[in-house]
Amino acid sequence: MSGRLILGLALAGLLVLPFVLSPYRLILMLPFMAYGVILLGLNLLFAYAGLVSFGHALFVGVGAYTGAFLGAHAGIRSIEVVVLVAAILGAVVAALVGLLCVRYVKIYFGMLTLAFGMVFYTFVLKFYRITGGDEGMPVPRPLLLGLDLDAMPKTDYLIGPYYYYCLGVLVVAAAVMWRIVHSPFGLCLRTIRDNPTKAEALGVSVTRYRWYAFVISGVFGAVGGALLGPPIGNVDPTLVYWTHSGSLVFMALLGGFAHFFGPVLGAFVFIFLQDAVMSVVPYWRLVFGAILAAIVIFAPGGLMGLFARRRAPVEVARP
């Protein structure tokens, strides 16, 4: 079956889901879609630039708290504004943080990103008066395309209009990332990942391109983060904690970071598997830890690595 066909079927499935799935499961789809957006960005760093960030939750937090701040302090509930502001803030923060981080690779990059993530976490946690501290801040129900849907019960709103809106954002995000990855820029990134010295010799500035990738990933992270807030109605510092960053990388690996849609699949499996496991036994971390270990040891290509045929839409990322 061609990749395009599968993609088409998946999309059709997603469109039809609200008529088929129970409300509870449908609401689970919302964080999946938000994580889908976030992971598209993370994977640009991970698979294409070869950088593992252990602080990506920083951008998720930036996006999520943007929604809360705009709602609480400026009375702005339009999701378009929230997403736009989140994207800009994500870009700015990523630009600054990235300037400092992209000079390093591997373990140092991971450590720096972890440190920045925890700086933001500490800030959000300690400045109780501004950010609500440990309790977090409420996120008001957004206006979609300017429409005030407050009359709808929240559950109907979430499984109806908000679901389709998020799906729209995910599709757009995926299309944009696809273009990015298949552009000359994407090619440069892969060259840098595989052989930085050669890239420099060819006139490609290694740190500059990594920086671009970092900023883009930050934007995607913030946009996804902005979508995460409304279903729960609350954002809190645990969104930014280092284990959340670790989970993001886990999702990417689970789905298979070598494939474009791998991480999105990973997000889906992670969320629904977690729900399924939690219904049976509270020790989901044990199960998930074992799964992660198994993937790392036996199947580093993740789920897509197990399914995918010879043809790789993008070359297998190293290693």
């Binding site: 609401i27 440990d134 309790e135 977090g136 409420p138 729960i232 109605g233």
Partner: protein
């Protein structure tokens, strides 16, 4: 985290489980009243299971299970057995998801529980949206009352949690003379901050020129207070006010004893009764002011119900019950009373709206005595605080004398603003 039916059975043990899960045996069915379904009534319960507040969550759950056990032995609510569906209260985000699951997936008729303010703040709007009564054990602070939920329809919330600070503030000048400087430590969220603000406001009414020399707000979950204690010693305050309500109260007491903090400083622990039997005599001095919120297990004027509960709790868990048990029991018992009252009016098992209407203003016999729901969906009860003493037969401290202050005096009336109300007191 979810608990399967299997899990729940193993937790609760034979009696309650068998009564709850198995369909009512023939004899009980014969008792089922007109218009009452035969299947068990599902009651959702949210309890903290992990982390520093786990003992408090466990207490609430045990109180609810004891209630369920009793009710089922007596035939259930209007002949319908009670079945508890337990989910974990953890972070606001996860708890909201579990709450939705309880209502959308498990189809419970009511949800009991909720302790941590952060969680109850996040839950309130969701509860309102899902149109199912939610009786919260604890967690309400002014933020919850004023900012996010001025007129709740489905949510029934705990006593304003600042009341323990108010009562402590009123009792401080009575028991500790000559207090000029005060230091405060509380958890870094609205409960800790609000309690400190409230305590300051109340104390200032009685001791106008008191100075507040230090305030510390470690995050809930910190286990090392040695540096905080050093800072407190440095401040040379006459008194330390601490609003810790979970395992960290025990830890700070221990670490304070290790440096002899309370040899030279007075101490007010507004809410540490939540973990009271972990405050062992070895490291908890006498002469501290200690709060037990709505239930004091050793109340000399306690009812027969309380005495029975304490006895059976101790026999089963080898611990003495803290006040969270009373909040939990009250919520469950008031739900039953509400259903019965609404049934009397409706002639059949009441709808959720009818139950909510019946709950407003209802009064029931709880473990600590008579308690009620105020019209604006806020709990009413009595608060127990007192001075710690070692003169007892336990290995932990108790209080003597026991001050009992009703929320009629110590909680702001419906519709008023807390600080304005305190400012308007006649001293």
């Amino acid at each position: 985290m979810a608990t399967t039916r299997r899990e729940f059975l193993s937790m609760v043990g034979g009696a309650a489980a068998a009564a709850g899960v198995v369909a009512a045996p023939a004899g009980a069915r014969a008792q089922a009243k007109k218009g009452v379904p035969a299947d068990p009534v599902k009651i959702g319960v949210m309890a903290i299971r992990a982390g520093i507040a786990a003992p408090v969550g466990a207490a609430g759950l045990r109180g609810t299970e004891w209630w369920a056990d009793r009710i089922n032995k007596a035939g259930g609510i209007l002949g319908r057995k009670v079945q508890l569906v337990v989910e974990e209260e953890s972070t606001p985000k996860d708890t909201v998801e579990r709450y939705r699951k309880l209502i959308l997936q498990d189809k419970v008729e009511v949800v009991l529980g909720g302790i941590s303010t952060g969680v109850t703040l996040a839950l309130a709007p969701v509860a309102e949206d899902l149109a199912t009564p939610w009786l919260s054990w604890d967690g309400t602070t002014q933020k919850g009352v004023d900012e996010t939920m001025p007129k709740p329809r489905w949510s029934f919330r705990s006593v304003d949690n600042e009341v323990e600070a108010i009562v402590a503030g009123q009792l401080t000048p009575k028991y500790f003379k000559g207090i000029k400087t005060v230091a405060g430590i509380g958890n870094d969220y609205s409960y800790g901050h609000d309690c400190w603000q409230t305590y300051q406001a109340v104390l200032k009414r009685y001791i106008p020129d008191v100075k507040f020399v230090l305030e510390l707000f470690p995050k809930l979950g910190v286990t090392d207070f040695t540096s905080h204690i050093a800072a407190i010693q440095q401040s040379k305050a006459d008194l330390l006010m601490c609003s810790f309500w979970s395992g960290d109260a025990t830890i700070i007491m221990k670490q304070a004893a290790a440096v002899g903090l309370f040899k030279t400083m007075k101490g007010v622990f507004t809410t540490a009764g939540g973990v009271h039997d972990s405050l062992k005599k070895e490291f908890t001095p006498d002469g501290l002011l200690l709060g037990y919120n709505s239930m004091y297990f050793d109340d000399p004027r306690g009812s027969a119900l309380l005495k029975q509960f304490v006895r059976e709790y101790k026999a089963k868990y080898d611990e003495y019950p803290p006040y969270e048990c009373d909040h939990a029991y009250f919520c469950a018992e008031s739900y039953k009373a509400g259903v019965e009252k609404a049934y009397a009016a409706a002639g059949q098992w009441p709808s959720k709206e009818q139950v909510v209407k019946a709950l407003e203003g209802i009064e029931v016999e709880s473990l600590s005595g008579r308690r009620s729901w105020r019209e604006d969906h806020i709990q009413m009860c009595s608060f127990y605080q007192g001075v710690t003493t070692h003169k007892n037969s336990y290995d932990f401290v108790t209080i003597d004398p026991v001050e009992v202050v009703s929320t009629k005096q110590s909680m702001k009336p419906a519709g008023s603003k807390l600080m304005e109300w305190i400012a308007g007191w006649k001293i």
